[in-house]
């Protein structure tokens, strides 16, 4: 092959490849978004009509009844409030303790640094399992049927600690040293000098923790399943799954739904709760994208 034909071939490929690549990526975005838009479409569809299925990207028979019914249900408000408050409190306490620990473990002169770091990192690999944890939390600590079970067991995550620590280690040492010369102790150095500089990484970790807290349903299932006042939004949705599982599994669910009195059918309610509980996070995450992308890379390097 001569140089000229090689160049020609290269050029032709350089035009073809970006086009094919763009098409593939657009297709991928479509596949990613289809189930999401499909669920939104279901949630805005008439209940009885939705049971027939076959709804694509737009509602076939538009109706907001699922939402009006949900918004009249005090249980939904209660669950939304539980989800929101546990997310906020967990995020704040988790950030407070995790970042403080991360700062202490970033100080090379700290005598307990090696020991504590080892103990913390091992938590990522040593897991007693479901039942021993359950027995500790419900029996020994008596957190079952309390709100605290949402907050106390989730106050620390080693991965997040490593992300913050790596970030702090990337800050100039001179910051801490000059604070020291000025007579500031470690606590003051952390809260007044280091913490304000950690905002990007704190935003990342806050997102990770908040998403985890907002999306969790298993804690409710395990510890507060008999306490209706403490149901979270995700658990409410999980219960809708359970009741409709047999219906959605059978090919002709119509008869099942027709026997219901309400015009709002499970499939629509399920979709509407999905939308309500997904919207808060989907609004927030694109704005934090820059931060969590670097945060993930930081954690991966050292983790």
């Amino acid at each position: 092959m001569t140089v000229a034909t090689a160049k020609k071939r290269g050029k032709r490929r350089d035009i073809a490849f970006p086009i094919v690549n763009t098409i593939i990526l657009i297709l991928l975005m479509f596949i990613t978004l289809y189930p999401v838009i499909n669920t939104v479409a279901y949630s805005f569809n008439d209940g009885l009509d939705a049971v027939k299925g076959g709804i694509g990207l737009i509602p076939r028979k538009f109706s907001t009844e699922a939402y009006t019914e949900l918004l009249q249900d005090p249980a939904v408000y209660k669950a939304f409030w539980i989800s929101l408050s546990k997310t906020v409190i967990t995020t704040l306490t988790n950030l407070f303790f995790t970042s403080m620990l991360a700062f202490a473990l970033s100080r090379r002169e700290y005598v307990l640094r090696g020991f504590i770091t080892t103990v913390m990192v091992l938590t990522m690999y040593v897991n007693a399992g479901l039942i021993p944890n359950y027995l500790l939390i419900s029996r020994t600590l008596g957190l079952r049927n309390t709100y605290w079970v949402y907050i106390i067991p989730t106050m620390f995550s080693c991965f997040n600690m490593i992300v913050i620590r790596t970030y702090i280690q990337g800050l100039p040492d001179a910051l801490v040293e000059s604070a020291r010369i000025d007579g500031a102790g470690d606590l003051r150095t952390f809260f007044q000098i280091i913490l304000p500089l950690c905002l990007p990484v704190m935003a990342t970790v806050a997102l990770f923790v908040a998403v985890g807290a907002w999306n969790s349903w298993f804690d409710t299932y395990l510890y507060n399943g008999s306490k209706k006042d403490l149901y979270s939004l995700q658990y409410l949705l999980k219960m809708k799954l359970a009741t409709t599982q047999s219906a959605s599994n059978s090919a002709n669910a119509t008869a099942d739904a027709l026997s219901q009195q309400s015009k709002v059918t499970p499939v629509v309610v399920r979709s509407a709760i999905s939308v309500i509980s997904a919207v808060p996070i989907l609004i927030v995450y694109p704005f934090l994208q820059k931060y969590f992308v670097t945060g993930m890379a930081l954690g991966a390097v050292k983790g």
Partner: protein, 321 residues
């Protein structure tokens, strides 16, 4: 105060432990305040539960407690390995882990390579934002969506029937043989974008002059991907692979538990689901069986992790030479 900073810096030169451990610690009381509470916290929440493993060797009754329950030796383990449902749960755990690992990794690398070739920044960012989206959805929502998409009248069946590939709708959610692949597919859909973050970070650290050199040597786009991009992410790939091999016993339980039903349970129940059902699924709680199952899983997991670490070290040495 300044001496603390300087001794730390010159620590390598001066003999260590010039001051005693305790006197240094008492000087560092503020750092201790910041870290010791969390140390106690993980001892309570991460290490104390290991004590519960004792109950794997007992016929544990919550009322009698750990001290009052009868010791049964290895009977619980014998019981487990004599049960078909436990053996199936091991198979299901490994099958779903391997499917997730293989397809998840391949899809993430493929997408990262494609994204790396995109020159238009806005388009690249848009694709990234969109593909990160499912990562932020809870598993409950994802399963709710899957129930719509894969139902008899859902999008997949509608598509297959309109293309004439099938005459009758396929019973995706109620056929055991499809379960692993369904879970694999859903997991790839959910995490593929998120998993590209690390690979793209690795790709941006590749020296651009390598691409230029390859181009001058006449390498086309595919050759550049093959000989520059992929070798550039090899170490990241290896690290993640080893970490994932250490997590092979962790196939999860959320999606399996939420999607399981009587028709697919032979394929859906992982070890975690098994443990969950034996403690909370029936009218009587068989805690000891669940603990034994969980302990088996953890111990095998740790062995896998150590083995993977070993292999990593061996490979590192050979690649360094």
């Amino acid at each position: 105060m300044t001496t603390a900073g300087t001794t730390a810096k010159t620590g390598a030169l001066t003999p260590k432990r010039k001051r005693g451990f305790w006197s240094t610690l008492s000087k560092q009381w503020q750092l201790a305040i910041m870290s010791v509470p969390m140390l106690l916290y993980v001892f309570l929440f991460n290490y104390a539960p290991l004590w519960g493993w004792i109950t794997a060797f007992q016929d544990y009754k919550p009322k009698q407690g750990v001290f009052g329950s009868k010791w049964v030796g290895l009977d619980n383990f014998k019981f487990l390995f004599g049960r078909e449902d436990f053996l199936l749960s091991i198979r299901n755990t490994l099958a779903m882990s391997v499917i997730n690992l293989v397809f998840g990794t391949c899809a993430a690398i493929l997408l990262a390579v494609l994204l790396n070739e995109v020159r238009n920044r806005t388009f690249k960012r848009t694709v990234q934002t969109v593909t990160y989206l499912p990562h932020f959805l809870s598993m409950v929502i994802v399963v709710a969506m899957a129930q719509n998409i894969f139902s008899g009248t859902g999008a997949i069946n509608t598509l297959l029937m309109s293309m004439g590939l099938v005459k009758e709708p396929i019973f995706f959610l109620g056929t055991g043989e499809y379960f692993w692949w369904l879970v694999g597919g859903i997991n790839v859909w959910k995490e593929v974008g998120w998993n590209t973050i690390i690979y793209i970070a690795a790709m941006t650290s590749i020296d651009p002059s390598l691409y230029e050199a390859a181009a001058i040597d006449g390498a086309g786009r595919f050759q550049r991907i093959l000989h520059v991009t992929l070798p550039g992410i090899k170490s990241t790939f290896m690290v993640l692979l080893i970490m994932n091999i250490g997590h092979l016993m962790e196939a999860g339980f959320e999606i399996q538990y939420l999607m399981r039903n009587g028709m697919v349970m032979k394929y859906s129940d992982t070890i975690d689901v098994f443990a969950l059902l034996y403690s909370f699924g029936g009218s009587t709680a068989h805690y000891s069986y669940s603990v034994a199952a969980g302990m088996f899983k953890s111990v095998v997991g740790i062995i896998l992790l150590l083995a993977a670490n070993r292999i990593a070290k061996a490979l590192d040495e050979s690649t360094l030479i």
